[in-house]
Amino acid sequence: MKTLPTVLQTHQAKDYKSDLKPIWCPGCGDFGVLQAIYRSLAAINRPPHEIAFVSGIGCSSRIPGYTTTYGFNSVHGRPLPIAQGIKLANPDLLVLVAGGDGDGFSIGGGHVPHAIRRNTDLTYIVMDNQIYGLTKGQLSPTSPRGLITCTSEYGSLEEPVNPLLYVLAYGCGFVAQATPADMPGMTEVIEAAIRYPGFSFVNVQSPCVTFGREEVQVKAHRAQMKSLKSLNHDPTNRLAAMDLAQHYGHELHTGIFYQNPTPPPTLDALVSERKAALNGKGLPRQKIFDLLLQKQ
């Protein structure tokens, strides 16, 4: 008797694992995120050569090197514009973007709203540890008020950025949060984010084991986390998602906050349509260069 689903997959998680071994601090939350990404990619079942992984700078931005996909460990805060360029140049690629909270919401903060409003089909995974770990523990944009670090000796006076509310407010079509304390849950949301046709955002609460506070480590997450499914949250209700997102920093909600039930067309699809409509009538690239040079 057949008791289990037939194995249909041609790709396994190990196929996405490169020979380069991570050099993160032992206990880092990013190890779990990497495993969840391998498994999500195996579930998506696309070969590594059809995937491009772009990152910025920071501990978490080392991720592309640990995968067998095409990878670009790019410029600080600039993975989103680079990833959008890659997707527009080759819409058939599955494009993933990874980075930390500093890379995404401080140095690269200005790129996030534009990536969202353009709705390029990308998946942006932020490993949010609320600290600058790579540079030895300075205040980051998501550090809570009062946090004592080497750059806030008497405690931070600033309110943190709320990444979930931020992206929801800009109209992101898919918003989720995960933690390495729930590996099956994290794998599930990353896979769902990749499958979403449009810009998708996953905020992973990925603790910094070296500079992070004890109360935000994985063990504490296990006690604190509340699955949105268990709260009977309707992920198609954007206002309910925004209401829940306000608890960022105080409560750890995991799962899909919002998923647009009627995703609008992606920028890459619209560009392809425009190209087809022009039917070769657009100016050739060389002609554009010539015109630019003439103007100079």
Partner: protein
Amino acid sequence: MNNTRAIDESTSHGAGVLAACRPIDFEKITLMDALDLATLVEQEAKDRYSEFAHQMTTHHNPDAAGFFLRMIQIESTHELRLTERRRKLFGGTPPNVRREMIFDIEAPEYDEARSNMTVRRALEAALTSEKKAFDFFDAAVQRVKDPGVP
């Protein structure tokens, strides 16, 4: 884009500790599936200890690295025994379970490792993982209907 799902979500998910193994329906599991699952559990633990050993070596902690290398040997022995039994009973029949279906059943969680961990702490992490695996199999066996599995 190929959106084919290999994992059938229609099967019932386990509760509690069994949630670490998705989406296997333990009520329908056969002896072959159980042996394959147990082998994967040992492989996962072996691979995690291998990662930990590398992490400890990278972070200049040879004592903890040595302990984790020993754990790799132990888990490899378990894996070998299971593989042999499976081969004798079911030969080369393709398995129904995949590594992607299990999450840290006997493997210590990544957050158990610390760059400065002592051998004692490494041993405690391994012991916690063994207990975790015991709890998993104990919960699973209570759901199993096939009399050949337990």
